[in-house]
């Protein structure tokens, strides 16, 4: 990944942007993957945590003098707070974890499709609340003026941290116990595994990382709108996890880069490229069609994802599997 960053630096600002974006998505995909890869539950709800994280960071850092105008309902200490951005990111991610803890305490009792739908419901609920809680979220309209501190290296730092967290979790006994529940719930229970507890632990950790992804997203764009954290983002991040390999952390990272890269390549094609003086450009809207077709092809030929169940080791402490 560092290598990709270097290439991006050499490749000029355009590539830097793409690398930054890919790494922001990496943080989110890794966050989702911590839960999904180990529990086997497809989460339609993780974008909730990106939403919570992004807004929580905005509450602490947004909009310079305009904070009271956008979010008059904030408590005084937040209106006055001058939290440093990184501390704010940490606090925001922790808030996402708290939301996960509270909601997960109930939802993690569920399994399979019921859990997926409950997670989707969580997203609906939180989104609807944020959309209508005008006094602290500006409702449906955007917040603008988040400090723009996310450049490629910040994103790289966050992505690395996310990967380390995921690695440590995966290698821990918690990760192993959760994978057992993924393979066979009844047998896991017979082996003394408290499924609810293991899921909840992973859920809280993954919410923390996904929340950090949301924070990055907000501070990369400088604006926040609730409806960005919705189905499109859910699909994109899920697609990254699955295209990479849904049971593997490496898969999440590869998926984030592959999907972002693919999308940007097609976008560049659509905007036109010069090939030996001949300018080729695809018609508007062709990018989306091509992206869908290529994703389908990848899935068809590699249904287990690009890396399958394999795990590459970066930082040691690799997963002990086969």
């Amino acid at each position: 990944m560092a290598l990709l960053c270097l290439i991006a630096v050499l490749g000029g600002p355009y590539l830097t942007d793409i690398a930054t974006e890919a790494m922001i998505y990496t943080v989110m995909a890794v966050g989702i993957s911590i839960f999904m890869a180990n529990s086997g539950i497809v989460s339609f709800g993780h974008v909730t945590f990106a939403l919570v994280g992004a807004y929580a960071s905005a509450w602490q850092t947004c909009c310079a003098g305009m904070r009271g105008v956008f979010m008059p309902g904030l408590p005084q200490f937040l209106l006055d707070s001058k939290t440093p951005v990184l501390l704010a990111a940490l606090v925001a991610s922790l808030l996402a974890s708290v939301v996960a803890l509270v909601s997960g305490a109930a939802i993690m009792r569920l399994t399979g499709a019921a859990a997926s739908i409950a997670l989707l419901s969580l997203l609906f609920i939180v989104k609807t609340i944020y959309e209508n809680w005008d006094s602290v979220t500006a409702g449906q309209s955007s917040l603008v003026g988040l400090p723009l501190y996310v450049d490629m290296w910040t994103a790289f730092g966050f992505a690395s941290a996310a990967i380390v967290i995921a690695q440590v979790y995966n290698a821990s006994s918690f990760g192993l116990l959760l994978r057992a529940t993924r393979e066979d719930e009844a047998a896991a229970r017979a082996s003394g595994v408290n499924i609810w507890r293991q899921r909840l632990i992973a859920f809280v950790i993954s919410a923390f990382v996904t929340g950090a992804g949301g924070v990055l997203y907000g501070h990369y764009l400088g604006t926040l709108a609730v409806n960005v954290f919705w189905l499109d983002m859910t699909f994109v991040t899920l697609a990254m996890v699955v295209v990479g390999g849904m049971r593997s952390l490496t898969g999440a990272v590869v998926g984030a880069f592959a999907v972002t890269g693919l999308r940007q390549t097609l976008l560049a094609l659509e905007r036109g490229v010069d090939l030996g003086g001949v300018s080729i450009s695809l018609p508007s809207g062709a990018q989306e069609i091509a992206l869908a077709v290529i994703l389908l092809l990848i899935l068809t030929f590699r249904p287990q994802g690009l890396v399958g169940d394999n795990e590459m080791t970066w930082f040691g402490g690799a997963r002990d599997s086969s």
Partner: protein
């Protein structure tokens, strides 16, 4: 002296009485054979004891204390371990990990769990395949992993549901050795469900026979074996 009892356990599935007032006791150090024709309710009884099935009536007691409300995982931590008739391995995890998971239940560290798991695997003779994926094993080996997994829980009561299914005669003989050693080596009582009568006769101290959800006979091996009801309902000419 620890003991596991079921008291008047009944289980009703819509219109079907799978268990009807079954009293069974399993005492420290013994190997109890649970026999009965197909559909007699043996697996259902194991499900009840291990917390997977809530009985319609009756209680399960461990050392005299009711464990009725406990979940399967809590029971497992209290020393009631089981294997499954349909094996149910964690197929995409390695054999070692399969066993390590239950070892983690009592282990203080990851390393301790791993060495407990290794010992359990050696005990059932699967040391050499510890690193393979559980889903790739042949059928009979899967059953042995299941036993190792239950053993790694350091159980006081071990419920084995047809451990010998799919094993050849010689493998059965190895299994006899393994099961025989359990009470001494692991200090646990064993409840053994098995249709391989030879094996049952060799290892069990006592037999409990179910038929149609009711207790048909309960007592020392020789008495039960010669019980005409048991012969008619279950053993046939065998």
């Amino acid at each position: 002296m620890s003991e596991l009892n079921t008291e008047a356990i009944s289980v009703q599935f819509q219109g079907l009485r799978a268990l009807d007032s079954v009293d069974l006791s399993l005492k420290e150090g013994e190997i109890l054979g649970l026999l009965g024709p197909n559909g007699a309710g043996k697996t259902t009884l194991v499900n009840v004891i291990s917390g997977f099935q809530r009985p319609t009536e009756g209680t399960v007691r461990v050392d005299g204390k009711s464990v009725g409300g406990l979940t399967p995982d809590a029971l497992a931590r209290c020393g009631v371990a089981r294997t499954f008739q349909s094996v149910r391995l964690f197929r995409r995890l390695s054999v070692l990990e399969n066993v390590e998971i239950s070892a983690l239940c009592h282990a203080k560290s990851r390393n301790e769990a791993r060495s407990t798991a290794r010992r359990a695997l050696e005990f059932v003779g699967l040391g050499p395949v510890a690193r393979r994926l559980a889903g790739e094993l042949p059928y009979a080996d899967e059953r042995r992993v299941g036993i190792a997994r239950a053993l790694a829980l350091r159980p006081r009561f071990l419920l084995l549901d047809e451990p010998a299914a799919g094993m050849t005669d010689s493998e059965c003989r190895d299994l006899v050795e393994i099961v025989r050693q359990l009470p001494q080596s692991f200090g646990c009582a064993v409840l053994l469900i098995e249709h391989n009568i030879g094996l049952v006769m060799e290892v069990c101290n006592r037999l409990h026979v179910l038929n149609g959800g009711r207790t048909l006979a309960d007592g020392p091996v020789e008495t039960v074996r010669n019980n005409p009801d048991v012969i008619a309902a279950y053993l046939g000419g065998a």
